[in-house]
């Protein structure tokens, strides 16, 4: 009898947790899309919360007038993004950074309304491709001149 009671309580407990999980899932799910998928089927994204990742296109960041606008590129496709969130931008957000944006897609205007931006360090950090000697030479220095600051 007691075994039954304990099992019953345990099942109720676990079921309650499961129910919570299902509830939470319904509200919190965000679909991961590539830029290409998004542009291929803009109408199908209506009302869904989306997450898109890509690189911030060089020179595309416009800080003023507010709101912030930039373009996200992935495999040659470009997605215009408007930042509508309230949190300050992450420090790592800059030209060429890898960024992940959460928000919704406005199919009529063809812009992504980002509520949240996460970014990973740009430039030197996660440099892709092979390392070459040129990346270690200072840009504005004619060859043969010493670059020693102290000298």
């Amino acid at each position: 009898m007691n075994r039954f009671k304990i099992a019953f309580c345990s099942i109720v407990l676990v079921a309650a947790c499961f129910w919570l999980a299902v509830q939470g899932y319904g509200r919190a799910k965000t679909y991961y899309r590539t830029v290409q998928e998004l542009l291929a089927d803009p109408a199908g994204q209506q009302g869904k919360s989306l997450r898109v990742g890509g690189d911030v296109q060089q020179g595309s960041v416009q800080k003023s007038p507010e709101p912030l606008r930039f373009a996200l590129t992935q495999d040659g496709k470009t997605l215009p993004v408007v930042y509508v969130g309230t949190e300050p931008l992450p420090d790592t957000f800059s030209d060429r950074a890898q960024a992940v944006v959460d928000g919704t897609y406005d199919a009529e205007k063809g812009v992504f309304l980002a509520e949240k931006i996460q970014a990973k360090c740009a430039s030197k950090y996660e440099s892709k491709g092979p390392r070459t000697l040129s990346s270690f030479q200072p840009p504005h220095q004619p060859e043969g001149q010493p670059s020693d600051r102290h000298g």
Binding site: I6, C9, V14, L20, A28, K29, E87, P88, T132
Partner: protein
């Protein structure tokens, strides 16, 4: 030096393999001398791992940029202490660091058990050497900290020594980051010792209560380090990342929370086994899960399988970890099946209303939380595998599930200690709990009348009162009883009484710490945020604070460019409260900006100011948050650590 390091790793590989072989052969052929030689070669392997780690530190401090690792995580301008900590700044180094801590733990455990049962020694030795062997293989073949720097030229790949390194990631250049990763790793890895003893107990068939005492002590140690690491990480995120919070349900954070939850469950259910000899199989499974979750956490952090903003590492290392995890799982499951009958032969639970079953429910809830976190973390991977669509569940999912779970936990924290072993009568429960419960409800009503409008936060405050009341009464009751006999003053009596039963009262202190943490978290429901673009002399208002920008100043040193906003904070009546100086730094070597948050911190609330941006016209964009009660999270964390140390005092005294 790099060659020496590589040679050390090769030797460590040899010794750990030899150790594994001698432990296994010694165990199966029952030859003690082989077990002894296994221990010796394990110590040699550990010594060479230490040598390799020292070599990395030495190379880092000598600026040997012809090594890819040194180039990637250090530079000339980096202060010396960050050069040392760059050992765990990147993939290859932090795996080496993992291995080193593993060797230290294992060394201690082997030394402690050396004079005891030889066959248990052989089993734990085999587990340790297998782990060291696995990580040493990773160093040598996947993430070599001694790999040399190559560049691509028209003539093919060639060696090159860059003039300077890329530097340590600026957001890791913070004091909390110096101790956070070691603490976290000591937590993760600490679970290897309980796991080894569990395997040994199952292999040798000595399933009695002796192994469970040792395991409890080691689990407590690991749990303490892991908890401290998590708290430090939260504090670091709070002061360094500049988004006003300290926990984002990021996969890497979740990775550290899961073994902690599982360890918490074990520390409770182990008491049932100690006192009543029940739940043997359950405890065994928990110990195994703790370690598997630790390895899994390392895998999540290190492989980049789930995209995370602070998974700094991305590599092909995942496959190795999955193989290792499956291997560990297979061995554990095989041994569990072998001993299942003996493990199950414990007395059954007798009543729903008893201490045992309250621990059982506590365990179920903790594991549900753990599973929900696991599920949410892995959801993108699972959904992609099964539906082809990558779906992410974010913070709302974790909050939705875990807040109610946490509230039930809080209720059990207060009520649990009043359930008696075997069976409790409703009368005693009513006598003990009715008073605090009624007053808790009173707290809720009073706060609701004071316009506190968040339901979860209200329940949390009510329950917090309930738990604190029951804990305080325990201390007073014990002290009064002692006073009656000894005529000491109240505080002295309380101290002496607590010292006589450190486990019990240490446990209460840990509970108190947990309650304070929950109160701090509940304060988050009342967070306020605002942003303002201010020119010099202009001011903005948030909550009861007025912030006036005095000036924006730019300076420069060898490591970074610096922008400082000088902000004067005053209250509604104009009385000055503080001067804050949020900064923005632009690190030269990494070309990355970081924000340094400015805080005005009180027990009631934090004013949190970030210099989000500076405009060309000299205006500063300030992001401001008011975080009520957030300090209680840190205070609770400290109480939790002190309580654990106090409870551990009894173990050290006995051993």
């Amino acid at each position: 030096m790099a060659d020496f390091g590589y040679l050390s790793l090769t030797l460590a590989l040899g010794f750990s393999f030899f150790a594994l072989a001698s432990f296994l052969i010694g165990y199966f052929s029952k030859r003690e001398e082989l077990v002894v030689s296994g221990v010796r070669s394990f110590y040699c392997a550990g010594g060479w791992i230490l040598a390799a780690a020292l070599a990395v530190v030495c190379l880092l401090s000598r600026n040997d940029f012809n090594l890819a690792y040194v180039w990637g995580y250090s530079n000339r301008a980096l202060p010396w202490y960050f050069k040392v900590t760059a050992l765990w700044g990147g993939q290859a180094g932090s795996l080496l660091w993992w291995n080193l801590i593993l060797c230290v733990y294992a060394g201690f455990a082997l030394w402690q058990s050396y004079k005891k049962d030889r066959w248990v020694l052989a089993c734990i030795g085999a587990v340790f050497s297998a782990c060291v062997l696995f990580f040493t293989l990773l160093h040598l073949f996947v993430a070599d900290p001694f790999a040399q720097f190559h560049i691509v030229t028209p003539a093919g790949e060639q060696l090159f020594t860059p003039p300077d390194g890329k530097g340590l990631n600026p957001i890791l250049q913070h004091p909390a980051m110096v101790i956070h990763p070691p603490m976290l790793y000591m937590g993760y890895i600490g679970f290897v010792v309980p796991f080894a003893f569990a395997i040994a107990a199952m292999a040798t068939g000595q399933l009695g209560n002796r192994w469970i005492k040792t395991v409890r002590r080691w689990t407590l140690t690991a749990w303490l380090f892991l908890g401290t690491g998590i708290m430090l990480g939260a504090r670091w995120a709070y002061v360094e990342l500049g988004w006003g919070g300290y926990w984002a349900w990021d996969p890497v954070e979740n990775a550290s929370l899961m073994p902690w939850l599982c360890g918490t469950a074990f520390l409770h259910s182990v008491m049932v086994q100690e006192r009543q000899g029940m739940l043997k199989a359950w405890n065994m499974v928990l110990v195994i899960c703790c370690f598997l979750l630790s390895i899994f956490g390392t895998f999540l952090t290190r492989s980049g399988v789930v995209s995370s903003v602070h998974a700094f590492a991305q590599s092909n290392i995942g496959a190795y970890f999955v193989t290792f995890l499956l291997l560990l799982l297979a061995v554990s499951v095989a041994l569990l099946t072998l001993r299942w009958k003996e493990l199950r032969s414990s007395p059954p639970l007798q009543s729903v209303v008893s201490r045992e079953s309250s621990f059982l429910f506590n365990n179920l809830i903790l594991l549900c939380a753990c599973f929900a976190v696991l599920w949410g973390t892995l959801f993108p991977v699972l959904s992609e595998a099964f539906t082809g669509e990558k779906i992410v569940v974010g913070a709302p999912f974790f909050n939705k599930v875990n807040i109610p779970i946490a509230l039930v936990m809080l209720l059990l924290t207060g009520a649990g200690p009043y359930f008696a072993w075997k069976k409790t009568s409703a009368g005693t429960l009513k006598k003990n709990l009715l008073g605090p419960a009624v007053l808790g409800v009173f707290v809720i009503v009073a706060l609701a009348l004071l316009r506190v409008r968040d339901v979860y936060a209200l329940i949390c405050f009510g329950l917090a009162y309930f738990v604190i009341h029951t804990i305080a009464r325990e201390f007073f009751k014990g002290a009064r009883a002692r006073q009656a006999a000894t005529k000491e003053n109240l505080l002295k009596a309380m101290w002496r009484m607590s010292r006589r039963n450190k486990r019990r009262y240490g446990g209460f202190i840990v509970h108190l710490g947990m309650v304070l943490i929950f109160v701090g978290i509940a304060g988050n429901a009342f967070q306020k945020e605002g942003r303002a673009e201010l020119g010099a002399g202009e001011s903005a208002v948030i909550g009861a604070y007025t912030l006036q920008l005095e000036k924006l100043k730019e300076t420069e040193n060898s490591n970074f460019l610096l922008q400082e906003a000088f902000v004067k904070v005053s209250d509604a009546s104009g009385k000055p409260l503080a001067r804050l100086k949020p900064e923005k730094r632009f690190y030269k070597s990494s070309e990355q900006p970081t924000s340094e948050v400015a805080l005005r911190s009180t027990l009631k609330e934090d004013l949190y100011v970030v210099l989000a941006d500076s405009k060309p016209d000299g205006k500063a964009l300030l992001q401001m948050y008011i975080n009520p009660l957030v300090n209680w999270v840190w205070i609770g964390g400290i109480v939790l650590i002190l309580g654990t140390l106090f409870a551990m005092g009894s173990e050290i005294g006995k051993s």
